[in-house]
């Protein structure tokens, strides 16, 4: 079954975790769907590498956090917040590619 992430998530957000990292939180609508995503490890480094066009070494971690029905992943910022040429000081608009993501469940 292929599902759109936007149809099964309640929250999809990005934010700085300090000036040198971007962190992404995906919080699912219910426990059943969260468990399916977690069981299949549907949010994984392959997906992140493809969506953000980054290499494995830029992924700091992927975490499934049961109490919040959430998946979190953190990547190295292409440029530190506020650096010359950097375009998103808070990192709050880097979630967009996740809105179009599809998962195989």
């Amino acid at each position: 079954m292929v599902v759109k992430l936007i149809d099964i998530a309640k929250v999809i957000r990005s934010k700085n975790s300090g000036p040198f990292e971007l962190t992404f939180d995906i919080i699912f609508k219910d426990e059943e769907i969260y468990k399916k995503v977690k069981g299949k490890k549907a949010i994984n480094s392959e997906l992140i590498k493809k969506l953000y066009r980054i290499s494995e070494d830029k992924i700091i971690g992927i975490f499934y956090f049961d109490p919040a029905l959430a998946v979190k992943f953190t990547i190295v910022r292409p440029l530190p917040a506020g650096y010359l040429g950097e375009t998103d000081i808070y990192g709050a608009q880097q979630h967009a590619p996740l809105l179009a993501a599809q998962l195989e469940l």
Binding site: N16, S17, G18, F20, A68, T74, P78, L84, P97
Partner: protein
Amino acid sequence: MEKVKILSPTAILGYGFPVKSFEAGLNKRPDVIAVDAGSVDPGPYYLGAGKSFTQRAAVKRDLYYMLKASAELKIPVLIGTAGGAGGRVHLMEVVEIIQELASENKLSFKMAVIDTEIDKEWLKEKVSHGKTKPLGNLPDLTVQEVEEAVRIVAQAGMEPFIKALEAGSQVIVAGRAFDPAVFAAYPVAQGFDVGLSLHLGKILECAAIATEPGSGSDCLMGEIDLEGFVVYPLNPERRATPLSVSAHSLYEKTSPFELHGPGGKLDLAQVNFQAVDDRTVRVTGTKFIKTPEYWLKIEGVKRVGFRAISIAGSRDPKFIENFREIALGVKKRVEDNFPELKGKYYLNFIPYGINGVMGELEPENKLSHEIGIVMDVVAEDKNTAEQILSFARSTMLHYGFPGRISTAGNLAFPFSPSDIPVGDVYNFSIHHLVEVDNPEILFPVEYFEVGG
């Protein structure tokens, strides 16, 4: 003491809160009011320029209610990361507001001021003895980086706050501080568990953001006992749920299972979030793991230059299609025209409508029917920045490109003047850890009798 009640009025001092929520919090008889006043999120400018991202009048408004409540209930008020960035100049601005409020409202109290700006000589010594290490993917700290930094602050832990509380201070204001420390200091001083106190602090630091619906400008109450803590909002329109509170444990940090701070880390792997009623959540199971050495996070910025920008738009499909080549061509023309300034300026175009938000992380590759362009120039001084910007702007306005039939001008400018001086630009140059022997000595606490 079996229980400590902590009132968090707002996510950032100056973001405001409804008076009704705050009064509902006071009716619960809190033992302490604590607030976080800053963040590194607005970028390097504020630490560098010595300014706050909050407005003085808004900070004064929030402090008015907090100081009045503190006087009436005879409870301490703790403020961390004063003035947004927590440098000495930021700290002194908040101290001045507090003194002003005390004299206007005839309040008198003992105030503790904790300076967390770092002495460069002390830090250079640490660097040369290998007592610093980078956070994330930064290079090792060098003596030169320390010298070039405009201002360096360290994130204080709970120790100086506890010291100030034990000295009987009613108002405690600190420079840069670990966000949860201002909330955790009082319960830890009363003997409550460090892990639970810091985790409660982590949730309280953004106030009602951890509720549904969330808000950074509304109050949140926390009550800690010997086995755990509860949090609940004071506005009847909000609810704290196991999901809203646990989701906040994720917020703005690398991992949901570990939260590193001064002297150790919080282990959240065994945490339990349970609904007490439909608006209150109980949390248990957080552990604090002390590190053998005591590491502090330090933040520093250096000045990069002066920025001037211009904002323009295009609605011409051929111009948009050729934008990358046009931008390169304009840069080339600027180089040709000012060979003597080579290497002395930075020129960049941010094309909104062509991956302006995500840059190299953008997976899409489609063109918009109109684009916005921000021309960004940074140079050592204002004159050079304005000179380069003016030339780049007029060159792009009249630049010839394949298929151009609109020969009157390529750009729509929404403003006159079209060129805007922005000010000094800074970069985060220090984001490291430093090992300290005694965190109390590093952060001197000064005491003042205010008012009276």
